[in-house]
């Protein structure tokens, strides 16, 4: 009567601390330039080395430029962080996938691509969207810098066991509805704090029908409802994706691994602390209108009014609309936009660019729109080129940039100017997330494509 989460968690507990959290063993540690330098510094101050460098991989992604990556990084602080990462990796014997190298990319994109992410693992990274890897039936979650230092020092972390939540989505999805829309729909239903204290398992026929890319998008966004992470039981789709990748088990090891992976599912009588059930048919393409990912609506709906809210809830809601420059009751469709960003660990995989390219094929980018099309990794970039998508994009007036986090958090130069509207495939629409004063509208690559060619918020289904 164990859940999928219990099975993996329990097999990784080294020790239960009296009155405290569990000591959890970590199979894979992913690091990047922003949350690691202070952890390395702390380690050195204690006179320690990284305990298991072979279970750690590094890549600089958060603040790298997405053009001219062969040149030295202009911003001094960014360059310094990237160089520190490289140096720290050399000191501690950690494999480093530097800018321009074959393995470079957003940390949550390269792990799965290389076959490092596998079912049944515990995976951590100093970045909240580590939950992405849960798509493979792994326990993956974001940690803070002092926890990064813990994993460096001991390959373990101290964690209280979270509660378990089941979110099932059943039935067929409507035309034009993607994994991103499921994610935004669920967050809008349960709010940005609805999942707090929980680890989510997604299940149901609509979830099973998703590709690995789609599952990664959904698990990526799971933390935006406040959950520690999200996961999906591995199945044939998962095994087919992992098989043959660089670090996937081979030969007999594969058979052993596969036999184990097939046991990784919640028992029929497993107990969840919280359960939500939704119908795929109720979901339409989604878009956010406010300043947190829970403020999303179906694209054909109007901005809700605040009548039902009281006190500080109401004030917060109104502050949010003011920031966005929207009014209650406004229709979303038809509103002018200025930027389109396709990329990030949420929607920066090959499938996302295929769907964007397919949509804009034979159409033209609207003149009022600046578009940043940023692959999640070098491998995605190469695939885009190999599949001839670049030609399609270019013919429609779009230019492909180089991999990195880019406008997802705007730590590099890819910042949306103040007051401008950006339809973004990333995961967060907080005030200033894409640059000071920037206004973010989260949506799927399909909805982003529709906005990019019309210059206004557009229901992508009109074109399908």
């Amino acid at each position: 009567m164990k859940t999928l989460f219990d099975k993996i968690w329990d097999s990784h507990v080294v020790k239960e601390v009296e009155g405290g959290p569990s000591v959890l063993y970590i199979d894979q540690h992913l690091i990047h330039e922003v949350t690691s330098p202070v952890a390395f510094l702390g380690l050195e101050k204690r006179g320690l080395k990284v305990l298991r460098p072979e279970k750690t991989i590094a890549t600089p992604d958060h603040n790298v430029p997405t053009i001219n990556q062969h040149l030295s990084i202009i911003d001094e602080l960014s360059r310094n962080q990237v160089e520190m990462l490289k140096k720290n990796c050399a000191t501690h014997g950690i494999v480093y996938h530097g800018l321009g190298s074959e393995g470079h990319g957003v940390v949550h994109i390269i792990g799965p691509e290389m076959g490092i992410t596998q079912p049944g693992m515990t995976i951590v990274c100093g970045d909240s969207h580590t939950s992405t890897h849960g798509a493979f039936g792994a326990i993956a979650f974001g940690i803070g810098t002092s926890e990064v230092e813990m994993v460096f020092a001991s390959q373990c972390i101290m964690q209280p066991k979270p509660k378990k939540m089941l979110i099932s989505v059943n039935g067929k999805l409507n035309k034009g509805v993607t994994a991103k829309d499921i994610a935004l729909y669920v967050i809008a239903q349960i709010s940005t704090s609805g999942g707090t204290g929980h680890f989510v398992e997604f299940a149901g026929s609509a979830i099973e029908s998703l590709s690995m890319e789609g599952r990664m998008t959904l698990c990526n966004m799971s933390i935006e409802c406040g959950a520690r992470g999200g996961m999906i039981a591995p199945d044939q789709t998962t095994f087919d994706y992992v098989k043959g990748r660089q670090f996937a088990p081979k030969g007999e090891d594969w058979d052993t691994a596969l036999a184990y992976w097939k046991t990784l599912k919640s028992d029929a009588d497993a107990v969840f602390d919280t359960i939500y059930e939704y119908e795929g048919a109720d979901i339409e393409p989604m878009i956010t209108f406010g300043t947190n990912p829970g403020m999303g609506i179906g694209i054909s709906e109007n901005v809700p009014n605040s009548d039902k809210l009281t006190g500080s809830d109401k004030l917060t809601y109104e502050k949010s609309l003011k920031y966005m420059g929207y009014n209650q009751g406004d229709k979303m469709v038809g509103k002018q936009i200025d930027y389109v960003f396709v990329g990030s660990c949420t929607n920066g995989r090959i499938e996302d660019f295929r769907s964007f390219a397919q949509f804009v094929k034979g159409k033209k980018k609207a003149d009022n729109v600046t578009a940043w099309i940023v692959p999640g990794s070098r491998a995605v970039e190469k695939q885009i080129i190999a599949e001839g998508l670049v030609e399609i994009l270019e013919a429609a007036g779009f230019e492909l940039r180089q991999p990195g986090c880019s406008a997802c958090l705007a730590m590099n130069d890819d910042k949306i100017p103040e007051g401008k509207y950006s339809v973004s495939t990333s995961n967060r629409n907080f005030e200033g997330r894409q640059g000071p004063g920037a206004r973010t509208l989260l949506a799927s690559p399909l909805t982003a494509a529709a906005a990019a060619v019309t210059g206004v918020i557009t229901d992508p289904r009109e074109f399908l």
Binding site: V14, K15, V17, E18, G19, G20, V23, Y25, V34, T35, P37, V38, L41, G42, K45, R46, L48, L51, H62, L77, S78, N80, Q81, M84, G126, D127, S128, G142, I143, G144, T145, S146, E147, E149, M150, A153, S154, Q155, C156, I157, M158, P160, T192, S193, T196, G226, R228, N292, S312, D313, L315, T316, L409, M411, R428, F430, E431, G432, R433, P436
Partner: protein, 195 residues
């Protein structure tokens, strides 16, 4: 990193009656480029505290000299968003030791505890009382008693209990951190690996 031991604290509080204060507001991403853990307090709530020409925004509570103290009181769902621990460092570096809210985001709560900050969860009604008390008298003191897990509005004597994981409580009262503990477990970890 060792931080100050925490036992009891009596201090006025700074009110921030805003909900869903996310870590992008606590410390915007562009200040995350440091490779050391210093000076984050200067940029705490940067974009709410300063305008574009770096002039203080007068009505933001941190800029109002009438408010002071080591306790920050925020609206529901404090610390949501990005896992950046820099948010906790900025709050600690600025001088806060306690953050009070009716609800904290998970990762923030963990990061706070790891960095010498005590997150105190109170009921929504009690939170309103705290805001009201500060509004009535900005110097009104509050007492945070970690040993007895009690938060008190000194003026009225009203108090409320709060939860804290016993292990974290031990760490906070002794100024210890998790890494000290884990490093001491070396052999158990090695044994686990060969299982």
């Amino acid at each position: 990193m060792a931080y100050d031991k925490f036992t009891t604290l009596t201090s006025p509080a700074v009110p921030l009656p805003i909900e869903n204060i996310d870590t992008d507001q606590i410390i915007p991403a562009r200040f995350l480029k440091a490779v050391e853990r210093k000076g984050f307090g200067d940029n705490l709530f940067r974009d709410w505290r300063y305008d574009k020409s770096s002039q203080p925004i007068a009505d933001f509570p941190l800029n109002q000299s009438k408010y002071s103290g080591k306790i920050l009181v925020g609206g529901k769902n404090f610390g949501s968003g990005s896992s950046r621990e820099h948010a906790a460092w900025a709050i600690y570096d600025y001088g806060f030791r306690v953050v009070v809210s009716s609800f904290f985001a998970d990762i923030f709560q963990g990061n706070a505890l790891n960095n010498g900050i005590l997150p105190v969860v109170v009921s929504p009604e009690f939170l309103e009382k705290i805001f009201t008390a500060i509004e009535a008298d900005q110097d009104t003191p509050f007492e945070v008693d970690l040993q007895n897990q009690k938060f008190t509005i000194c003026a009225s004597g009203e108090s409320i209990g709060f939860d804290i994981n016993p292990y974290k409580k031990h760490c906070l009262t002794h100024g210890l951190d998790d890494i000290d503990y884990l490093v001491s477990m070396k052999e158990e970890i090695a044994a686990f690996e060969t299982k």
